[in-house]
Amino acid sequence: MDHTEFNDDVDGLYRGDYAGLPIVSLRPPGAPHPPAGEAAWRVSVHVYNAKETFEEHFARFVETIDTTEVRALIVGGWVEAYEKDSSGPIRLLAESAARLPALRSLFFAAMPQEECEISWIQQSDVTPLLESFPLLERLEVRGGTGLELRPVRHEHLKVLRFEAGGLPASVVRGVGMSDLPALEHLEAWLGTSEYGGETTAADLENILSGERLPALKHLGLQNSEIQDEVAGLVAAAPVVARLESLSQSMGVLTDEGAEALLSGQSLTHLKRLDLHHHYLTDAMVERVTTAFSGSGVQLDLSDQKEPDGEWRYVAVAE
């Protein structure tokens, strides 16, 4: 799997590809559509001043497209997503599972900042998406406010990503307590306490042990205001030895966290170490670069940040 296809753009996924398929939105009545299995379908209504509700739009989607062939779905916005939580769209998807037997990839709440700031997206319990789609291989969710995840067992999920300005600690625990035997790529944007991201070492324990994540190849615990502490935990985490790729990017990583990564367990088995958006000093950038030179590890130290007075920011919060 190419882990580089995931990024921190917080894009609306209106154009381009998703899950290897060209993104297509529902066109006006009568307009031709590509075959259902050859597109990533973007199902979305305007967050503001919508002309139709998400339910109406989804009904039109189901009537127009042969949903039994649909492999990839992007749910964008729903009406007043900053006020009304996601339980309606989630229920609708879960109830429509029988009509979407081929669905393998789902991005839920792909609203760019221009449509709804990430911390304003009102999420809810996303567990039904995993329960109703047992063959799902890829689930990506944007927004941490109100987000819930109950422990589940899911045999086929390969990619699980949570993009958030603040990811509730209960969700982090929920992931850790889930049995995800096929999971290869796990990404959690922990965020800041200001936006509800209050994950502690104890919450991360199960993920870092890797016991319930036997297939894991990429772990991204990122966008954290306590990135140094997270790096310290990762440096000693059993799961890391099995990884091909590790991300500690987007957060407030300082020399302290980098020191922990350098002095912890060996990381030279990795193919990729992503530390972009960091607060390392030039001297530490050089030390890290030297430490991995010749190791074959693809190191990303781009986007070096300067503190703004006393302030250091994660990449995505608001």
């Binding site: 503001y48 221009e114 449509e115």
Partner: protein, 423 residues
């Protein structure tokens, strides 16, 4: 010999770059009438036969003090006074030109007045069917009224703009739901005063926001519904398109992680080719058409800068603003196929001025350099290179001077758009 004079700030980049463009096209260096002397009421000396350009006073602190009154230049406020003073100054220039034999004003005082009042500008564009985000009608007196009116309109997210601001000064990107608010702005509230800052701030404490809005409201507010913009590589984008003599000649993409794309606020120049690709050929043509139509509402203005927003779905367009002095884009060359290839925004204007006003014997073969045109096309053939105007813009939207290249702007009575000038 064609003589040009510029009302501006001596030594300011706008003045020197325009003078450079004149030199490249074989014209004498324009005389500069300082804004400060216009604003002090000193006599305005115009040479007979001069073509008179009005430019921005730029960031001249003295002119600013004359317009807004004394005070810290970074402060926000005094917009209404600025506007009245500026329009009065421009009108004085207009009268001086009218009283000078053969002199021609290359601007329209009423156009300038409307462009520097976002409420009037919006009304003029809206009445002409140019796509703009809907706006709250009538005055908005303060924060409480703002929220009340947003509630009535069921608008959860808006742009609050000082009626007379420029360069994003005092603009607030506001998201509100009950007591939960999020306001992104370059305005900095300190000890009860507002200042422009180079850093974007986010206010989530409602009493602070209320103070800011109440302070801004004293000079008039224009409130538009939020228009979610398209993004590229995680950055929201908009376009600044310079329209010279009716033709969109120059465009830049401005991109930012937040809602303010202005370059001085951390915005970056985006990839124009990527935007053109994103829009597709027809979409790009429509984008330029919208800009041309917006500019056509200011027929007395030689060049305007249109800020065009592209919708998040890459289909809709909306004009955010039309800037009277939106041509300060150093070293930017004209769009391919836009008729001003190889010219910067000033070069394109000088050429348009010559095409309209210079006797044929005065035209010089331009000196070839990086920004000089390789060949000077006669006006009649230039039109062919502008498919947007030829094919897409209805006759009624044409620049009224486009077919009257020898008419002078200054000869025209300032036009009122059918009930839309809103003055």
């Amino acid at each position: 010999m064609t003589t040009i004079a510029v009302v501006g700030t001596p030594g300011d980049r706008r003045v020197t770059m325009f003078a450079d463009a004149c030199a490249r096209q074989g014209l004498d260096e324009p005389a500069v009438v300082p804004w400060t002397s216009v604003l002090r009421g000193e006599e305005i000396g115009i040479e007979p036969g001069a073509l008179v350009r009005i430019d921005s006073p730029g960031e001249d602190a003295e002119a600013d003090a004359l317009l807004r009154g004394p005070g810290e230049p970074s402060r926000i406020g005094g917009g209404a006074r600025w506007h009245a003073g500026f329009v009065a100054g421009a009108a004085r220039v207009g009268r001086a030109v009218a009283a000078t034999p053969g002199a021609v004003l290359l601007a329209d005082v009423e156009d300038v007045s409307v462009m520097f009042d976002k409420r009037h500008c919006h009304a003029r564009l809206s009445a002409a069917g140019v796509p703009v985000p809907p706006a709250l009608a009538g005055p908005v007196g303060g924060y409480a009224e703002l929220r009340e009116r947003m509630g009535e309109a069921r608008w959860g997210r808006v742009f609050v703009k000082p009626a007379h601001g420029s360069s994003a000064s005092g603009i607030i990107a506001l998201h509100a739901s009950g007591r939960r608010v999020r306001a992104v702005t370059s305005a900095e509230l300190a000890s009860g005063e507002l200042h422009n800052s180079l850093r974007i701030r986010c206010y989530e404490h409602e009493p602070d926001l209320a103070t800011i809005v109440d302070l801004l409201a004293a000079d008039g507010l224009h409130v538009e519904r939020w228009f979610p913009k398209a993004s590229l590589g995680g950055r929201a984008i908009d376009l600044r398109v310079v329209v010279v003599d009716g033709t969109p000649t120059h465009a830049v993409v401005r991109a930012a992680r937040g809602p303010m794309t202005n370059l001085h606020l951390g915005g970056v120049r985006g990839d124009l080719d990527a935007v053109r690709t994103g829009l597709g050929p027809q979409g790009w043509e429509r984008a330029l058409e919208v800009c041309a139509r917006a500019a056509a509402r200011f027929p007395g203005s030689l060049a305007v800068g249109v800020d065009l927003m592209i919708g998040v779905d890459w289909r809709e367009f909306a004009v955010a603003e039309v800037n009277a002095f939106g041509d300060l884009l150093p070293r930017l060359e004209g769009l391919p196929g836009g008729g001003a290839e190889g010219l910067d925004t000033y070069g394109a204007q000088v050429r348009a001025i010559l095409a309209r006003h210079a006797p044929v014997r005065d035209r010089h073969v331009p000196v070839r350099d990086r920004y000089a045109p390789v060949t000077e096309r006669p006006a009649s053939t230039r039109e062919r290179h502008v498919p947007v105007r030829d094919q897409r813009v209805s006759a009624g939207d044409r620049h009224p001077l486009a077919k009257e290249r020898h008419a002078s702007v200054g000869d025209r009575t300032p036009r009122r758009e059918g009930g839309s000038s809103g003055a």
